[in-house]
């Protein structure tokens, strides 16, 4: 009662010799899937073809500024007659944008798409790679002339030269006598007692809506009202406005000209001041005719000739003398505290040198104080507290910027576009818009299809 031994022959006899004629489920399903999965992909593509939607062939998401053209490939991909492909061309870009030339003597001008790479998601198209710039600036040449710019720049942190404004020998061309050290001392004589000045009391962007501590309290013009637009879009927050007497100085540095008047002389040209003084003294003597009899004089006036007392003057004589006294006070003392004043012999009035306050130091680069508002002022302007001369340059050098802007992983942006723009936008021509709203999608439907004759 034993099962026969399974010899090779017996084992072979157990096999159904027709087994290969019947499909095993494993093979059958493999075949079904091998047919159905590619078929499903064709159905998927077919659906887009039927709905004339070419988005499926997009190589990536459009940038935020071009997202409206996502379904309208033909807006940029223009097909030339007799050519299979529909590549983008500069002409397609220039339909909407003018791309002003970078530099008149540049050796070559790259195509738009060389620097502004589309289909890479919601990126700023202006955020070009450093390679776009260094392809020329790493070995800079100019056509027909020698360039006066740095010739070998291959990155901000590697070979970028020191900023021109702070290179050795540079001085502030301003003529206003200002001593930062004195003005940042404790217990300065303020308009209402001891005061401590801070940087922001004098250095503010035009769009600042904070009240002036030591300036005029008049409201700002509506054109710079900060609520008009969000701070990030307000260009008037990028740069500090030049310091002005009316906004920053008048609180402490009044232009008193005579003890008879509480008001100040106007901060204006010598001729305007002269006219103002004459007008105010005439008004005064008209209401105080007894003062034409002079019995004493003000001993505080400098360089005043000794009075001949008592004297009786005509009103006009009295006005002339008072104006002369007040102008002596102003020209020789008050105005001279800040201004460079000369007294040409040929002119009756002094000449005040132009203030020459530099509004924008970095002419070839962009900077935004508002974006840096979290940083303490002295971090970038350490010399401000000790500077005593107007000619001192208090701007940060490149090393200061490199403390944050470097190529490390935890660093601020250090690529070229962060500070520089390629196109010279002063030469921009206005675009002639030709897009009709609502036709974009329609045009997409007409032109984007695979079998469209338009493409």
């Amino acid at each position: 009662m034993r099962r026969a031994k399974l010899t090779t022959k017996k084992l072979a006899q157990r096999i159904d010799l027709n087994y290969f004629k019947r499909s095993h489920p494993l093979r059958r399903w493999r075949f079904i899937l091998s047919v159905s999965v590619p078929a499903l992909t064709l159905i998927w593509l077919g659906w887009f073809a039927i709905t004339r939607n070419n988005r499926v062939y997009s190589s990536g998401k459009m940038s935020a500024s071009h997202a409206v053209f996502t379904g309208s490939c033909s807006s940029c991909h223009v097909k030339a007659a007799g050519v299979f492909s529909s590549k983008t061309s500069d002409a397609a870009c220039e339909t909407c944008h003018d791309g002003p030339i970078h530099q008149a003597n540049q050796v070559f001008a790259p195509n738009c798409a060389t620097c502004h790479r589309e289909h890479r998601g919601s990126l700023r198209l202006a955020a070009t790679s450093d390679g776009s710039c260094t392809q020329c600036h790493a070995d800079l040449h100019a056509t027909g002339t020698a360039t006066h710019y740095a010739r070998n720049i291959d990155g901000f942190n590697s070979s970028h030269p020191e900023f021109a404004a702070v290179r050795a020998g540079s001085v502030d061309p301003g003529t206003i006598k200002f001593n930062h050290r004195v003005h940042l001392k404790n217990n300065l004589a303020g308009p209402s007692g001891p005061a401590q000045l801070a940087c922001g009391d004098c250095h503010r962007p035009p769009a600042s809506n904070q009240p002036e501590r030591f300036g005029s309290q008049q409201p700002k013009p509506a054109s710079v009202a900060p609520e008009r637009e969000p701070p990030s879009l307000n260009p008037e927050r990028a740069y500090m406005a030049p310091v002005s007497y009316a906004q920053h100085c008048i609180g402490c540095h009044g232009l008193q000209f005579d003890k008879r008047f509480a008001e100040s002389a106007p901060h204006d040209t010598p001729a305007a001041v002269n006219a103002f003084l004459a007008m105010r003294f005439r008004q005064y003597i008209f209401t105080h005719p007894a003062e034409v009899r002079i019995t004493d004089s003000d001993p505080n006036l400098p360089q005043r000739p000794l009075p001949i007392s008592p004297r009786v003057l005509t009103p006009e004589q009295w006005v002339t003398e008072r104006v002369a006294e007040s102008e002596q006070l102003l020209w020789r003392k008050t105005c001279m505290q800040c201004h460079v004043i000369s007294f040409p012999a040929s002119q009756p009035l002094p000449v005040v040198a132009k203030s020459n306050i530099t509004v924008r130091w970095f002419q070839h680069a962009l900077f935004n104080h508002d974006k840096h508002r979290l940083v303490k002022c002295e971090e970038c302007h350490p010399a401000a507290r000790t500077s005593q001369e107007t000619s001192d340059i208090l701007l940060p050098g490149i090393k200061t910027c490199e403390r944050c802007h470097h190529s490390g992983s935890q660093a601020a942006e250090a690529r070229c576009f962060e500070c520089h723009t390629y196109h010279d936008w002063r030469k921009e021509k206005p675009a002639q818009g030709n897009l009709i709203l609502g036709q974009n999608q329609a045009r997409s439907s007409e032109k984007a299809g695979l079998n469209s004759t338009a493409e």
Binding site: R2, R3, H24, V37, T41, K61, C73
Partner: protein, 204 residues
């Protein structure tokens, strides 16, 4: 290469699908290649009674018929249905009358334990599915049965061993070829979409 080609981005819908397909195809291919190197050795070592995969169900049916015929002839029940169902006469039929109690015990064991196991009753952990457990069961069975039945019991034990090996072969085969169910269809889809992608890339 493809990652460099795509700039380490998935891109749009079509290129994203292509990239996902490529990753799955490459991963499943590597997985399959590793299995193709490893599994045959396991199969050779663990499945001495390996047969053609597509014939496993056929062979198991034959084994069931063999076991039915063996029990029928051993217990003298006269049930030759198993012998008739068997495609070939794999057993040496010897009609030896068994004591009634022994015949009942053998029949009971076969009907209640072994036959459901051979029929693959769906129980995840059948006592006979484990080699150690099966050995203990058959040792116990031999102590209950007279010595003249021990050859038949040994044959039944061999059938159970072959059943276990065929089950093992089935599992190994599924590992060895199952990845192709994913790899081949997706490879075809990848080729198809790759051609479409090349055409559209040239166009745009």
């Amino acid at each position: 290469m493809i990652l460099f080609h795509g700039g380490f981005r998935f891109g749009g819908p079509l290129t994203s699908v292509l990239m996902i397909l490529l990753i799955i195809v490459v991963a499943s291919g590597l997985f399959g290649a590793a299995l193709q190197h490893y599994m045959p050795n396991v199969m050779t070592a663990e499945v001495q009674k390996e047969t053609i995969f597509e014939q496993i169900d056929h062979v198991r049916a034959g084994m069931l018929a063999d076991a039915d015929a063996l029990i029928s002839s051993t217990t003298g029940s006269g049930d030759t249905a198993g012998a008739k169902r068997a495609a070939r006469p794999p057993i040496a039929v010897q009609t030896v009358p068994l004591p009634q109690e022994a015949a009942a015990a053998l029949s009971s064991f076969y009907v209640r334990k072994m036959r459901p196991f051979l029929q693959n009753d769906g129980r995840a952990r059948h006592p006979l599915a484990d080699a150690g457990g099966a050995r203990a069961i058959f040792v116990e069975l031999r102590t209950l049965l007279p010595a003249e039945t021990h050859d038949a019991v040994k044959s039944l034990e061999n059938i159970c061993e072959e059943e276990r090996q065929l089950r093992r072969q089935t599992r190994l085969h599924h590992w060895l070829h199952g990845w192709l169910m994913l790899h081949i269809p997706l490879s075809f889809a990848l080729l198809l979409l790759g051609c479409v992608h090349a055409f559209m890339a040239l166009r745009y």
